[in-house]
């Protein structure tokens, strides 16, 4: 192994080791580089969460807005709180607001993405996959809000029970119980063969 590789390794390790909370502390003072690291770490998770909590074509806008608001409200960061709980509280509120807007009849809340969609007839497997995605979405929509949110925070966002509880304003065991009931109901709704 070449000696020249060592300094590079050290720098990478130092970045990896900074916790989300330490990075957010730096973001609170206006550190855009720390913000960038947080976006890198959580972009995929937030998008996954927003897509499952609303619709795939809304996920990009809601994800962008989540990070924009995180940056705008950075000065309100309180050391000692969990970063993922804060991040997903922002995402959750945006998704809830979207749902409320929809119920008032504002169905076309965001542009439905048209570009990049295949014009040719999709192969059967693709149709099957789309049908699966649609079935999952319908099943999720029919869950009680508290169960759906807990389930998505745990699995789509990858939060542990205490962070799920913190984001939802309940304790970890309540969060676990919501995930439990949500998963049971989802299994009933989707039948034996997924």
């Amino acid at each position: 192994m070449s000696m020249a590789a060592k300094p590079v390794l050290r720098i990478v390790t130092a970045d990896v080791e900074r916790s989300d909370e330490a990075l957010m502390g730096a973001v609170a003072t206006g550190d855009a580089e720390a913000f960038r690291v947080l976006v890198e770490r959580h972009l995929a998770g937030v998008r996954r969460f927003c897509a499952r909590a609303t619709r795939a074509d809304l996920a990009d806008e809601l994800t962008q807005e989540t990070f924009t608001r995180l940056w705008q409200t950075r000065a309100r960061w309180k050391p000692g709180t969990g970063f993922t709980a804060l991040l997903y509280t922002v995402a959750l509120n945006l998704c809830r607001n979207h749902a409320r807007g929809q119920s008032r009849g504002l169905r076309a809340f965001f542009l439905v993405e048209k570009e990049g969609q295949p014009h040719a007839p999709a192969p059967d497997e693709l149709l099957d996959a789309k049908e699966d995605t649609a079935r999952l979405r319908r099943a999720l929509e029919s869950l009680p809000d508290a169960q759906r949110e807990a389930l998505l925070l745990q699995y789509a966002a990858g939060l542990d029970s205490s962070a799920v509880g913190e984001a939802l304003g309940c304790n970890a065991s309540t969060a676990r119980s919501r995930v439990f009931h949500g998963l049971r109901r989802l299994r009933e709704l989707l039948g034996e063969t997924p």
């Binding site: 913000f35 996920a59 990009d60 990070f67």
Partner: protein, 258 residues
Amino acid sequence: MTCPDEAQWTEFVVSRSEPALEQHLAACPACQATVAHLTRLTQRLASDDVGLESRLSVDAVVATALRPRRPVRALVAVAASLTVLAIGGLALQGRQPEMETMTARGEAPAWRARVTTRLVSTSAGLIEPGAVVPVTTRFTVASFGVLATDQLFTLAFVADSKGVVHWVAPTWLDERSVPTAAALGVDGGFRTNPEHVLSLDHSVAFDDLAPGPASLVTMVLDAPVSVLAVERAWQGDAAGLRARFGEALVRVVPVELR
């Protein structure tokens, strides 16, 4: 051997905290199937395959988040039936701007609409490129042209010298909401009068427009896109908006705010 019930297996999958169940699981194909199904469900929730590719990149998300945004409280909007009268005068003066033709993508010459929207001053009317515009100007949007049967939407904003976007249409008063493009007031059927002029039912003045070179931007589209999508695509000229909203008509009028 009695199998644990489904509730117990769900609990097991959710918290993975019961070693006794693991022993049973290792020896029981029926329960393995139950656990496998529950696990597949959780994996589907965790999958990035949500049905649509993301257009986001880390660079773009960071750049957009760091871009300054107009303070919502600085926006003043009033219902102003007077603007209709003011704009009505424009048509009589024969000062309609050039109209653009909107066609369906991929279709031959058949057009869907001939229309343009422009930001206008409620006191001075149509604002031409290069005009000197007082920062206290009250803006509204007028649409000119022959409109098709399709429902069309318009967006209009002032981008000042600091790069801050100030929305005229739709108005954006509440930061907790994200408004979408305003519907152009077409009530069905082709409009055949080329002098037809429509205007919004409100006008807007801002108390925080930065003096200097500014852009008055108007768009016409066939979908109610959100102000956020437009802010994200705005890079200081029409090109970014055209790249993002392929079918939109985009008009950028450079002015000097003073």
